[in-house]
């Protein structure tokens, strides 16, 4: 039989989603050539199936600064990857159908302005004027001009390709089976590719496995509270240009963006199918998205949906990410649980992890993202 192949790497990244790819990219820029393991192919999971929203507004306060820093990185990535990732700062509107929702948005806007994020409250008239394509049900909304969208099919992959060009090793169809620890420190990752098993000797592992993170972490005795949650997107036929913003309504349970080629992507906001890796698209959800779409954008009542798909979101109990080391396992870093916000946050996560590894300290505080917050 195959003897185990042995290679080594200064850092092994487990997971080729946007978090893993961005980390590989910024590490390579800093001169560290990581080896990235992806059990399927780059960006094949949530990172490539998401709504494409790159948004700072309407976030948990702990994530806001991160999102704002990430948007700066997105702006730079637009020209730096050598590949058009269709990033567009077209703005973001969160709409309301009730006064109570308007009050919530107003309160949020005050906090956001305090934190330095420029947002505007729009009353009904402003909404009609600025977004005439929206349905009559909305009585107003909150707008953030620097928010935007990018193409999820391209952005995570383009980060991975750029990392590879800079010298990183990208290994698709390679699953990390186990992290080897000796004397309290990581020594290797055991992995499996289509030709057999291999050992990657390394002193450092970044575990960015999205919703699959808990299973592997558990083999190290580490409990990571991430629950997989199904989320569905439907896409229309190609349409003439209708809107630039990423729009969403929790009251209707849908969000949407129009992709550059003209297709409108409509996703279901507020996932209801918790704790499943199932990626079939539930009939009831398609129905809900179709109704929400027609209510949100009346012009879609005369349009066909072409396709639907589902992806797996990675929710933590407080819906905020985990970026942390683990006591007693030196060299092991978890970066997962972005709870449905990770597309926007991927670049900043990669950047901060790189600083942490290369300089010993990240340029932004990471205390808020400790795993230990769930152990109390």
């Amino acid at each position: 039989m195959n003897t185990q192949r042995k290679v080594n790497a200064p850092v092994v990244i487990i997971g080729g989603g946007i978090v893993g790819c961005a980390t590989a990219y910024y590490l390579a820029q800093a001169g560290v050539q990581a080896t990235l393991l992806e059990k399927s192919v780059l960006g094949n999971e949530a990172s490539g199936r998401n709504g494409g929203g790159v948004r700072q507004q309407c976030r948990d306060r702990r994530e806001r600064a991160l999102a704002m820093a990430s948007v700066k990185l997105w702006v730079a990535l637009r020209t730096k990857l050598g590949f058009d990732i269709e990033y567009n700062q077209g703005g973001n509107i969160r709409m309301a159908t009730t006064e109570q929702r308007m009050d919530d948005l107003r309160r949020e806007s005050e906090e956001e302005l305090q934190d330095g994020l420029a947002v505007e409250m729009w009353d009904r008239e402003t909404l009609r004027r600025r977004a005439p394509y929206l349905g009559e049900v909305f009585i107003g909304g909150k707008y953030c001009a620097t928010d935007g969208t990018a193409n999820p099919l391209l952005a995570p992959r383009a980060l991975g390709w750029a990392a590879k060009r800079l010298g990183a090793t990208i290994m698709p169809r390679t699953e990390a089976l186990h992290v080897q620890v000796q004397a309290g420190h990581v020594t290797a990752v055991i992995a499996k590719d289509p030709t057999g098993e291999l050992v990657i000797e390394t002193p450092r592992v970044i575990h960015a496995g999205g919703p699959w993170t808990p299973q592997l972490a558990q083999t190290l005795g580490v409990t990571v509270p991430i629950v997989p949650t199904r989320s569905v997107v439907a896409v229309t036929q190609r349409l003439p240009h209708l809107f630039d913003e990423f729009i969403s309504s929790h009251d209707l349970g849908v969000y949407a963006r129009q992709a550059r080629e003209g297709h409108v992507h409509v996703g279901g906001a507020g996932a209801e199918h918790d704790d499943t890796f199932d990626q079939t698209t539930p009939l009831g959800t398609i129905e809900k998205i179709a109704r929400g779409a027609a209510g949100m954008i009346p012009a879609l009542r005369h349009v066909n949906f072409l396709r639907t798909w589902a992806g797996t979101i990675e929710n933590t109990p407080d819906k905020v990410a985990i970026m942390d080391t683990v006591d007693g396992i030196g060299g092991y870093i978890i970066a997962a649980g972005f709870s449905g916000h990770g597309f926007c946050l991927g670049p900043i996560a990669g950047k901060l992890l790189t600083e942490w590894l290369v300089e010993g300290e990240a340029s932004m505080p990471l205390e808020q993202f400790r795993l230990t917050r769930f152990q109390k």
Partner: protein, 470 residues
Amino acid sequence: MTEPIEIVVVGAGPGGLSAALAAAQAGARVALVDNNRQPGGQYFRQPAREFRGAASPHQRQGADLWQRVQAAGVHWWAETTAWGAAETRVLTLAGNHAPSSIQPPAIILATGTYERTVAFPGWTLPGVMTAGAAQTLLKEQHLLPGKKILLVGTGPLQLVLAAELVRAGAHVVAVLEGAPIFQKGAAHLGSLWGQWERVVEGASSWLTLASHAVPYRTSWGIVAANGNRQVAGATIARLDAAWQPVAGSEEQIACDTICLGYGFIPFTALAQLLGAQMTWQPELGGDVPTRDANLQTSAPGVYAVGDGAGIGGAALAQVEGEIAGIAAAAQLGHHADTAAQKIQALLPRLTRERQFQKMYAALFTPGAGLDTLARDETILCRCEEITQADVRRAIALGANSAGEVKSITRGGMGDCQGRMCSHLLAHAIARETQQTLAQVGRVRPRPPLFPTPIPVLGQVQAARAEESLR
């Protein structure tokens, strides 16, 4: 509807009609779904009423079968599209005569095929069309597709179309048969011709072509369609045993229309969504569901018959339909005691038709050379205008599966839902990456299988909210 439907048959071609009839005669409550207004499928489809000339024998046979289906009390859900399905044996339907979703104890899929496109330089020029499109123009709108028509492809259906065109007054400049049938199949030809003659106007097609001196060349195929904004001619060439054009044999031929008749691809998306296991069988047209002796797929209660389970012609579709109809009804307790015996009695017919199917496949399965005609600038996915060079670029970036190339290039994401292009893309990837088609993998079908109005999707019965679509 008072009593619930027990068996839903999707597709009202020869396979579906026979299945519905057999199941209903056994006592099952059957609904027959088809997206067309008229039953009949590819084969029995009734011509428009004003079409000149008398009904052909197979049309009369179809009308007779349809009468018996009605007499047996089958519910006819015309103009209804099954746009989705789930592994829980749920079908979702769009149409005015049917519920929006249904979860019957058994489903018989008889969904037929779609035409196989071929990518060569110039194939997207106006004037290039599939044989089926030409046939529809001729039969339903009484229009000739052009004045000087070249037919390229394989199989006896080409001859039928050629004869129809000639009779309607077109100038058919040549019929090119890709297969080396005269070298390869002299032994087969007798029985093949016999079979074919039985069902189409075979012999008379020959005579028509002969009397109009239409050249018929075997082991010849198209290399390129030429012209600026419209087809003005074609480059054709002799083919080797692998259907690869032989260098130096090229000829130019003037024409304004090119009809592609390179066969069919089974439409298996519903079977896949229902959870049926698939197997790659090029001689049956590509990916087909695996089936047991009763034609049940690996998904319990889901049967597949006819061309949609492997190209085999109308007669095979009918006998398969009968078997699945009897078996599905028996599974639900209708005449379960006599079913095995009835199926046994059909086996000689099944064996005969399967032999014919094998022979047909041996003669007319295109060789690998057909998939090498595209050039860098040739479009593979028409809806999204993706060229072979785009595919090559995606591969250079590290993509080597159908799914990745689709994600990176958008190839296969257009309105045709991949029906025109996914095989072209898969072949290109396989060739570029030196993998087999199985390694390249297939792109998962995603509901809705056909572009479906948003208001229709908003009316799926909420009662089935837990049911999942793949």
